[in-house]
Symmetry: C2
Subunit: 149 residues, 2 copies
DNA sequence: GAATAATGGTTGCGAGTGCAACTAACAAGA
DNA sequence: TCTTGTTAGTTGCACTCGCAACCATTATTC
């Protein structure tokens, strides 16, 4: 009854999403942080290159909805760690194509596998159909923001 | 088929949650940011006081899963904005009880109402039962992290 | 009741972020 | 070809955050 006039913070979807997102990404971040000294953006860049092959920084920005400054810094950090190299594209020298090194691929394989394990453990108690439904809703919500920049 | 051995970033729940959380909280943050110059933590502190009455900083930390340093700074910012006052509790002078000023309450009422509108608009396309189910899952996921600090 | 621990809250510092300004390279129009 | 505009990527700066060290107050232990 009073719910109609006033709602709890627990009912506010942005808050709930933030809490859940922080909980899970904090938990998983220790995986790449302690073992490889990586930040979240570095992990995401590494993931994109490992999963989808060579990409330019711009392509990673678009795919991952990351700001170019953030990606630029992550790329530099990953180069310093010898996880990736870059080459200027000869036909358009504005583009820098990024490629994983063997070491970078090894790290990706390790983290990719650990990500799958984490995912499985996180969702083991939930119904598969519910999770599938939730994924589609989350994707829809995330896409609301795509039209910026 | 290949999905069994390798998954996309879109399938990784922490990533998905982050994308959705960032999209929604970025969208709503403009509401309190542009009109009242508030940060997310300030909005959360204001919300707790407006919704649940007078609280100490510690109580807000526990309820909102926020670090005490973050809350401390938010409280100072809100005091500077004349949105709240505080009084040392006479029986235990370590505790500072926070109370909204009339101005703070007005701001809360405005933002609270706007939050409800945003929530309704955000979820209008989705099935009520699905959303309810998702809320419970999100709360469960968020609680996984509670056992820290 | 003196020493020690625990609690609520503050602050300094290093690190990460967002934004806007910038460079370098290419494109288009006159 | 000169000007103007656009795009990919970098960097400086101000701001926010997380952590740990810290202060003040209260509890506990002997």
């Amino acid at each position: 009854m009073t719910k109609c006039a006033s709602f709890d913070l627990q009912d506010f979807m942005p808050y709930l999403l933030n809490q859940a997102a922080e909980a899970t990404s904090r938990a998983f971040s220790s995986t790449y942080r302690t073992k490889y000294g990586m930040l979240q953006t570095e992990w995401r860049v590494l993931f994109h290159l490992g999963r989808y092959g060579d990409l330019t920084a711009k392509e990673i920005c678009d795919r991952a909805s990351l700001h170019k400054a953030k990606v630029s810094r992550a790329v530099h950090a990953l180069i310093d760690k010898h996880y990736l190299t870059r080459a200027t594209r000869s036909d358009d020298r504005r583009h820098e194509v990024l490629s994983l090194t063997q070491q970078g691929r090894d790290v990706f394989d390790d983290l990719h596998q650990k990500a799958q394990s984490y995912e499985a453990a996180l969702l083991q108690d939930f119904d598969h159909a519910e999770i599938a439904k939730m994924r589609t809703i989350l994707i829809r919500i995330a896409e609301l923001d795509q039209g910026r920049d």
